[in-house]
């Protein structure tokens, strides 16, 4: 499977450096290594969800309880979480760190991923959620650090879009 192990490891190490100790996730192809790294790490609590919106509640509870967390999900997981993001995280000023595997852009071969990818940034904008793209290893650490900094200073959700050029190594 040409999901980048090195990029996944880079992102995971940034999560650890950021003090994240609870990760909620639903499997998605690009996230397989990240989820496995969280599972294999005794210092990390991985919460496998039935639906991504649960992760908003888990992160909110963890935040109020003093533990840093992150959510790993696909575009459609983000779309499925919107009510929780608005009526829990935004209403109660919870800093969510959302990692969204950004399927459906140029190069996408799976027809079923194309609609979600096309609307994700528009929905993020409509929700006034600051977002940035993770596209190459060189800026990953800096952007994750800055995203988390803003999430905490603003007490609001932020999103990092995991893009094809970072996550997928197949020659196209």
């Amino acid at each position: 499977m040409p999901v980048s192990v090195s990029s996944s490891k880079l992102i995971y190490d940034c999560l650890k450096d950021a003090g994240v100790r609870i990760v909620s996730a639903l499997p998605e192809t690009w996230l397989v290594h990240l989820i496995r790294m969280a599972e294999d790490d005794a210092e990390m609590t991985l919460v496998r969800l039935a639906k991504e919106e649960e992760g908003v509640g888990i992160s909110a509870g963890a935040h109020l309880a003093g533990v840093k967390s992150a959510m790993l999900m696909q575009n459609h997981g983000f779309l499925a979480s919107v009510n929780g993001i608005v009526s829990c995280a935004q209403l109660y000023r919870i800093p969510l760190l959302m990692f969204i595997s950004h399927r459906g852009e140029f190069g996408e071969r799976d027809p079923w991923q194309t609609e979600g990818g096309g609307v994700t940034t528009h929905v993020l904008d409509a929700l006034r959620i600051p977002h940035t793209r993770l596209e190459e290893p060189g800026h990953v650490a800096r952007r994750i650090h800055k995203a988390q900094t803003l999430a905490y200073s603003a007490s609001r959700p932020v999103a990092l879009l995991l893009c094809r050029d970072l996550m997928w190594e197949e020659a196209s």
Binding site: R21, I22, T45, V47, E53, G61, A62, A65, G84, R93
Partner: protein
């Protein structure tokens, strides 16, 4: 059994717990009995009170977490029961007040009014300690037993579909949120 009476019956026990409630009647009634800094009222995001409880329970295993849920809310997040069962936080007591209706939006009947059994769903999801209680004494007994068991428990309390005259209280959402966060920050790990 009335929900307010049920909460009042276990109110002394709640002092040493961390409590997360759903919105509407549950939040308003608990506040009318008495607000404490260790009570958080999730005044929207229906379905996520149990997920918040799970997040707190996983983050702080030394604390005892009580979630006051409702039939309408839990029906919006049935998958969350499988997540609760999967991680089985020993420090979480999940109470579902089942009045068989969406009381705060006009009393429309939920699926529990036509036979859906939430305790049965919770048990089938993998939660080992579940029960349905009808009388106040039964509820008090089940709640006390759940605290003593130190294991994940879902108690479905069948309650009358009656509530307070209004749902807005003078405790603002953010005031509650920051007070609750400070309580958790200051709660000594050995608090319980």
């Amino acid at each position: 059994m009335k929900r307010r009476d049920a909460m009042e019956a276990v109110f002394p026990e709640l002092e040493r717990c961390v409590v997360v409630t759903i919105m509407g009647a549950v939040a308003a009634e608990l506040q009318s009995i008495g607000h404490r800094p260790n009570f958080f009222y999730l005044q929207h995001a229906m379905g996520l009170a149990s997920s918040m409880g799970l997040g707190i329970a996983l983050a702080r295993p030394e604390l005892t977490v009580v979630v006051f849920d409702g039939d309408g809310s839990v029906l919006m997040n049935l998958g969350g029961l499988t997540t609760l069962a999967r991680y089985r936080p020993r420090n979480l007591v999940h109470v579902v007040f089942d009045n068989e209706s969406l009381l705060s939006v006009g009393g429309f009947p939920t699926a529990t009014s036509t036979g859906t059994d939430i305790a049965g769903i919770a048990a089938a999801a993998g939660i080992r300690r579940t029960s349905t209680v009808i009388a106040l004494d039964e509820f008090r007994e089940a709640f006390t037993a759940a605290l003593a068991a130190k294991d994940l428990t879902t108690i479905v309390a069948k309650v009358e579909a009656v509530g307070p005259s209004g749902y807005v209280t003078d405790l603002s959402l953010l005031e509650n949120r920051y007070q609750f966060q400070r309580y958790l920050r200051d709660a000594a790990p050995s608090a319980r």
